[in-house]
Amino acid sequence: MIFGLTGSALVALGLYGLVTQPALLRKILAFNLLGGGVFLLFGVMARRGAVVDPVPQALVITGLVVAFAATALALVLVLRLFQITGAATIAEDEAPP
C-alpha cells in the first residue's frame, strides 16, 4: 500500500518534471523518474496475491532493459542535436542557427 502510493507520487512528479523542465537532459531524467513509478506500481500489483506473481516482475525486467536502451538513444540524440545546433532545449521561439 505504501509503495503503491509512492509509485503514484513518482508518476505525478516525473510527469510534472517532463512538462515543466525545459532542458532536454532534465526531461530525460524526469521521464526515467516517471518510468520508475510505473514499474513500482506494477511491482505492487504483483505483490498483492498470496504468492508473489512472477509475470509482472518478469515484464518489469524486460521494461527496465528497454527503458535503458531508449534512454541511451535519447541521450545520443540530444548530444547530436547539441553538436549540430548548440541547442539544449527544443523551445519553439528559438532563432534558427
Binding site: I2, F3, G4, L5, T6, G7, S8, A9, L10, V11, A12, Y16, G17, V19, T20, P22, A23, L25, L29, A30, N32, L33, G36, F39, L40, G43, V44, M45, A46, R47, R48, G49, V51, V52, D53, P54, V55, Q57, A58, I61, T62, L64, V65, V66, F68, A69, A70, T71, A72, L73, L75, V76, V78, L79, R80, A87, A88, T89, A91, E94
Partner: protein, 315 residues
C-alpha cells in the same frame, strides 16, 4: 518495525525524486537520479522482487548513471536558452495541478484495487518442472512470455544500430566512444586491474544461477558489461571498431540463437518458440548463454555511444 522501514524508504525515494527535479545543476541531478535508482532497488527487495532489484541497481542506477554523466560532461552552457524556455509561474502551477490529479487518480486506483487480487503465480509454478528451471521469473521470461523477451533482445540490437547511425558519415565503422588515456596509477587503474577477473566470474555465475535463483542473462550481462566499461575507461582495453566482424556477431548472437531455437520449435515441437519437454533445459541454456554475451556487448556499445574515432577514409 518493517512498516516504519517501508515508510522511511518511501519518503526517501520521493525526497530524492523531488531533489533530482528541483536542483539547478545537471551534475547533482544525475547523482540524485543514481541515488533514486539505488533506493528503488531497495524498495524492490522489500517487495520480494530480488530479480528486479538486481536489474534496477545494475541498469537503472548504474548503467543509466554512466551514460547520463557522459552526456552531462559534454552538454555545456545553454543557461540563457534554458532560462528563456522555462515556463512561467501560472503555467507551472497549472501543470502541477494536472499532474497532481494524475497522481491522486493513480493513488485512488491503488487504494480501491479489487480483492482478491488476480494472480498467475499458481499457473506459472505449475509447468516449471517441465522446463527444468526453478526460478519462476526465468520461466516466464524464457517460456511463457518468450516472445516478449525475443522482441526485447531485438530492441537492444536496434538501439545499438540507431546509436551508431548518429555518427557523422566519415566516422561510420570507426571506434565507438572517446578513447581514454591509459591510467598507470591511482584508484581507477587499481580497480580496473583487480575487479574484472572477479567481476567476470560473478557475472557468469549470476547469469548461470538465474535458472534456479534470482539472476539471469540481463543481470549477468550487465555485470560483464560493467567490467568491460571499467577496463575501457581506465584505458586498459581498446574497444574494437564498429566495423569489426566479431563485435557485430557478439551483438546479434543472442537474438539469432533465440530466433533459431524459435524456428526449430516448428520442427521439433508444436510451434514458434515452443520447446519439447525433453530439450527445454538445454535450449533455454543455449539462448541464455548467447543472450548474456549479446546483452553485455550491446550495453557496452550503448554506453560508448556512436563512433568518434577512425572510420572509413573520406570519399
Amino acid at each position: 518495525m518493517s512498516l516504519v522501514l517501508d515508510l522511511c524508504l518511501a519518503l526517501a525515494v520521493i525526497g530524492v525524486a523531488v531533489w533530482t527535479l528541483a536542483v539547478r545543476g545537471n551534475f547533482p541531478a544525475v547523482i540524485g537520479f543514481v541515488a533514486y535508482g539505488l533506493l528503488l532497488a531497495l524498495v524492490w527487495v522489500r517487495l520480494g522482487a530480488v530479480d528486479v532489484a538486481l536489474t534496477e541497481a545494475a541498469l537503472g542506477a548504474g548503467a543509466t548513471g554512466v551514460i547520463l554523466l557522459f552526456a552531462v560532461v559534454r552538454l555545456r552552457g545553454g543557461k540563457a536558452e534554458i532560462d528563456a524556455a522555462t515556463p512561467s509561474g501560472p503555467q507551472r502551477i497549472a501543470a502541477g495541478l494536472l499532474c497532481a490529479v494524475v497522481g491522486i487518480g493513480l493513488a485512488a486506483a491503488v487504494v480501491t484495487l479489487p480483492e482478491p487480487a488476480p494472480s498467475l503465480a499458481a499457473e506459472a509454478a505449475r509447468h516449471l518442472p517441465a522446463l527444468g528451471v526453478a526460478n519462476p521469473i526465468t520461466g516466464v521470461l524464457m517460456a511463457y512470455r518468450g516472445l516478449d523477451t525475443l522482441l526485447e533482445a531485438v530492441v537492444l540490437v536496434f538501439a545499438v544500430l540507431a546509436i551508431w547511425t548518429m555518427a557523422p558519415d566519415r566516422r561510420w565503422g570507426g571506434v565507438p566512444g572517446p578513447v581514454f588515456p591509459v591510467q598507470s596509477s591511482g584508484p581507477l587503474s587499481l580497480l580496473a586491474r583487480v575487479l574484472p577477473p572477479i567481476g567476470i566470474v560473478v557475472g557468469i555465475y549470476v547469469a548461470w544461477v538465474g535458472a534456479d535463483a534470482p539472476g539471469g542473462k540481463f543481470q549477468g550481462g550487465t555485470i560483464l558489461a560493467a567490467m568491460g566499461i571499467l577496463a575501457w575507461v581506465a584505458g586498459l582495453w581498446r574497444l574494437p571498431p564498429t566495423s569489426a566482424r566479431g563485435l557485430r556477431w557478439a551483438v546479434v548472437a543472442g537474438p539469432l540463437a533465440f530466433i533459431g531455437v524459435g524456428l526449430l520449435g516448428f520442427v521439433i515441437a508444436d510451434g514458434f518458440l515452443a520447446y519439447p519437454p525433453s530439450l527445454a533445459k538445454p535450449l533455454i541454456l543455449l539462448i541464455e548463454g548467447a543472450m548474456t554475451l549479446s546483452v553485455a556487448a550491446a550495453l557496452i556499445l550503448m554506453v560508448a555511444g556512436p563512433p568518434e574515432g577512425g572510420g572509413r577514409r573520406a570519399p
